[in-house]
């Protein structure tokens, strides 16, 4: 059987649990108060009885049985909170407020006894309050019983018990109401979170939790959830973007390859053997495709690494060596294109990084600079330690540069500007740079180059900044 929905809610169940614990504790306190009070009442009665007995035996010792008898008669009339019984040596009742001793089989000595005392109230009701008394044998063989009713104490204890039960009832009631309110509030807040989660589950990545600004844990949870969704949406967007770039970079060479193969086939069928040339071109397109494919794999791996927060295969090495090796590799290519290629490398730039990936990232930037700088221009590679202690690689060219308003966008997506997306590969090449820097917790900075140089410019300065090895 399913419980009503309220009883399945965690806050309400917690409320019930706490109420049960509280009630148990209250009952224990109640029992303790009761026992302690009852004990106290008994001790007080005994003390009063003992004093009375001492007084009466004093009268008996000093002035004899008759004086005692007089005293008992007198007290029976004046002290109605005490019970008296005086019995002579023959065992006959002499005087007192009792007719018979409450101790039925008294055999001498001093005996304490607790007993119900039957009493008739003025309005005719019969009550049997607990009483406590002592019976003793005097020197002359007479017996004296003195007792006191615990009635007042009992009535007090009864009222106390009633009050405590009442208080507990109120506590339980208030607790239930409070629990209901808390669970309803919590349920509303959880409902908001749940609705968002379900909406996202149904594919609405834009759904967000409405944050009330109360700053409590649930608000924090909501904010955390929203932050997580923002991050997820951003990575989904970047994946979609990478997907578009891949589609673009794979579709063009595939289309060209298909066309060339088709032409080769037509030519071959027509007996014109231009086959080999077309096939060679198709092969070179296939090679481009393989390169693109490898880049995509590398980006995917780096993005996975960036998600885990650890640099894959990080090793400690001198970034100056990396920069010097690349300068040596690219310098002829730059000069071959009629560019002035120079390098300015500081020594001792220790970093913790994935060397192959960082090499490839910097190589892609140099590739790009060489590609976009017109003949007669200059490309300069620098590696240095910033005053902040970070290590910076920078490549400055004298190409057309990137307008300032586009730089943010270029860094964000780090793909080639749409209007220059004619040559395949570069878009992904720069996306790879972005992925490498992300995996290294580094950043990319774009600035204007040296200005107009040999009729071209203003140029572009791309800087890769990452932390020095600790």
């Amino acid at each position: 059987m399913r419980l009503p929905s309220l009883f399945r809610r965690t806050p309400f169940r917690l409320t019930l649990l706490f109420l049960a614990l509280f009630a148990t504790a209250a009952a224990a306190v109640l029992a303790w108060v009761y026992v302690a009070s009852a004990n106290e009442a008994r001790l007080r009665a005994e003390e009063a009885v003992r004093t009375e007995v001492t007084t009466l035996t004093g009268i008996y010792d000093a002035r004899g049985f008759d004086a005692l008898n007089m005293a008992v008669i007198d007290r029976t009339l004046t002290r109605d909170n005490f019970l008296y019984l005086l019995i002579d040596a023959e065992g006959n009742r002499v005087t007192g407020s009792l007719n018979v001793s409450p101790i039925q089989d008294y055999e001498g000595g001093t005996v304490w006894h607790t007993f119900p005392m039957t009493d008739t109230l003025p309005d005719g009701r019969v009550v049997r309050p607990q009483s406590r008394g002592v019976q003793m044998t005097l020197r002359g063989g007479e017996q004296l019983f003195v007792g006191q009713s615990l009635g007042d104490t009992e009535a007090y204890l009864g009222r106390l018990t009633q009050a405590l039960w009442g208080a507990m009832g109120i506590v339980v009631l208030l607790g239930l109401i409070g629990g209901l309110l808390v669970s309803r509030n919590l349920e509303r807040a959880m409902g908001r979170l749940n609705r968002t989660v379900l909406a996202v589950q149904d594919g609405d990545l834009k759904a967000r939790v409405a944050v009330r600004g109360s700053g409590d844990e649930l608000d924090e949870l909501g904010q955390g959830l929203n932050g997580m969704l923002d991050r997820l949406e951003a990575s989904m967007a970047s994946i979609r973007h990478a997907g578009d770039a891949i589609a673009h970079d794979l579709r063009s060479p595939l289309t060209r390859m298909r066309a060339k193969l088709e032409v080769a086939l037509i030519d071959a069928e027509a007996g014109k053997v231009s086959g080999p040339e077309a096939l060679e071109l198709a092969l070179s397109e296939a090679d481009d495709l393989l390169k693109t494919f490898n880049t995509v794999l590398a980006i995917a791996r780096l993005q996975a690494a960036a998600g885990s927060g650890r640099i894959p295969d990080a090793k400690r090495f001198d970034a100056a060596d990396l920069a010097a090796d690349l300068a040596e590799l690219y310098e002829p290519a730059g000069e071959d294109k009629g560019l002035e290629f120079s390098a300015e490398i500081e020594r001792g730039l220790e970093i913790m990084a994935n060397r192959p990936f960082l090499t490839q990232a910097l190589a892609n930037i140099i590739d790009n600079a060489i590609k976009y700088t017109p003949e007669g221009g200059a490309v300069k590679l620098r590696a240095r330690r910033r005053s902040s202690g970070e290590i910076e690689f920078s490549v400055t060219d004298t190409g057309p540069g990137v307008p300032e308003e586009d730089r943010e966008r270029v860094i964000e997506r780090f793909v080639r500007l749409d209007n220059s997306r004619t040559e395949p590969g570069s878009g992904l090449g720069l996306a790879l740079v972005g992925a490498v820097m992300e995996a290294h917790n580094g950043r990319i900075q774009l600035d204007e180059g040296p200005g107009v140089y040999n009729g071209h410019g203003p140029g572009l300065r791309v800087a890769l900044v990452l932390a020095a090895a600790p």
Binding site: E280, L283, S284, A286, D287, L290, K291, F293, N294, L297, R301, P312, D313, D325, E328, L329, Y330, P332, A333, D336, N354, P356, T359, Q360, A363, N364, I366, D367, N368, I370, K371, G425, S426, G429
Partner: protein, 223 residues
Amino acid sequence: MRILVVEDDAEAATAMVRGLTEAGHDVVHAVDGAFGLLEAQKGGYDVYVVDRMMPRLDGVGMVETVRKNGDQTPVLFLSALGEVEDRVTGLQAGADDYLVKPYAFAELIARVEALSRRRETGSVATVLKVGDLEMNLISRDVTRAGQEIDLQPREFQLLEFMMRHAGQSVTRTMLLEKVWEYHFDPQTNVIDVHISRLRSKIDKGFDKAMLQTVRGAGYRLEA
């Protein structure tokens, strides 16, 4: 050259066997590491081409066993895993070279031939000679027909590699990997420019151009 191809993908294996056969080699195909091991034990091979991931006994297991048996035949690993650590584990298992799938066929042939050549010239030659080109590995002097050629350190390494593989096609990727120790594809034709600089130093002023471009493959140093 007798080549053992160990590859579980039937289509890839067929293409490889056909291509290597057409390149003039004697090729035997084994469908997994266990059969490869059996075939290798028969002996008489110049190179093993081993796929890394195979059912039953994989490439790493096979090469480790082959090396444990004292067989030093050069091994070329083929793998879809191209990360640094994958290369490292592959080479640690005893492979001599590592080619990441997908690859160009010219690349495979060039590497297979380079491996067999390495074995032949495993001696401690101090002077390399290709035609009238001479390289002294100790004094680091290079001469062609007696004329001294002045080379930069990297040009020297590049020429040394070409001379050790004289008569064979070497690909740009091979040069980038073996001479520069880089494992990526530059967008710019960096290798071509280095080669043309080297070419201008060793071929300029001579009738015969030794450093030749092989279309669709790379370069070849001819005597």
